[in-house]
Amino acid sequence: MTAGGDFAGQRPLQIEMRREADVPIVALSGSCTMEQSMRLGEELAPLAGDPAVKMLIIDLHDLDFIESSGLGGVIAAYLKCRKRGADLRLVGPAPAIRRVLEITQLDKILRICDNLETAMTAR
């Protein structure tokens, strides 16, 4: 199944965290559905509030689906980062996910990068 694909047989949300050059990268895959969205917010909140984290990257390239509560978790993390002068960047959303971000106009406040390299290096 490709990102943005078989929604009837959805993959469960997977949240994996790693670090590159001391930058935490939270990689999402599968579907962020209503019963899973709270978990996303709970995973992002400590990282977004950590004073040692200057930049938080959320890798969306393997995310098939997200609804508004899941977006709310991302926005809450963005607000926490912004409040203490840190950066939050999104990477590689599939067209269906990018459209959700555009419709909600979150692309105006959230920085969206095409790939991880750009997200890591862009000013």
Binding site: G4, G5, F7, A8, T33, M34, E35, F65, E67, S68, S69, L71, G72, G73, I75, A76, Y78, L79, A96, V100, I103, T104, Q105, L106, K108, I109
Partner: protein, 147 residues
């Protein structure tokens, strides 16, 4: 449930009633998406219905029924080759949809909540609240068949 008769009771539609929690609220989505797939709707229409159902059911559980486990959610639906029509009804006190703040206004753009109705309207052909806001009627037409 037909066009121009929002929220009318019409025999022949299918009905599912689920307890008021987010896990139970998945069941109608799974059943309806299976029918959507069987009727040959394309990927974008399937995404739209899934998203709209998630938003409508979340609103019913959290806002309509206020997470009250004694309440239920009632779903009536029709899926055929021409259209998908779904009525989601909660057992709450209702609300005024026009009073929901526009999430794209500068003063609201960074609020974590409040985008569900906007997404439903963006992805569907019709979204209509009725019964004082206790029910929402969702319609998606089959564009591939029409084309």
């Amino acid at each position: 449930m037909g066009r121009g008769h929002a929220c009318d009771e019409v025999s022949g539609v299918k009905e599912i009633v689920v307890p008021n929690d987010l896990v139970s609220a998945k069941r109608p989505e799974e059943v309806i998406l299976a029918e959507v797939s069987n009727c040959g709707y394309d990927e974008s229409a399937t995404f739209a219905i899934k998203l709209a159902l998630e938003e409508a059911m979340t609103n019913a559980v959290r806002h309509g029924n206020r997470s009250d486990p004694s309440k239920r959610i009632h779903i009536r639906y029709i899926v055929n080759f021409e259209r998908i029509e779904i009525l989601v009804r909660d057992e709450g006190t209702g609300f005024v949809p026009d009073a929901v703040p526009d999430p794209t206004l500068p003063e609201n753009i960074d609020r974590p909540n409040g985008r569900g109705i906007m997404l439903m309207r963006a992805y569907l052909d019709e979204v209509e609240y009725c019964e004082g806001g206790r029910a929402v009627r969702l319609v998606k037409l089959n564009r591939s068949e029409a084309g």
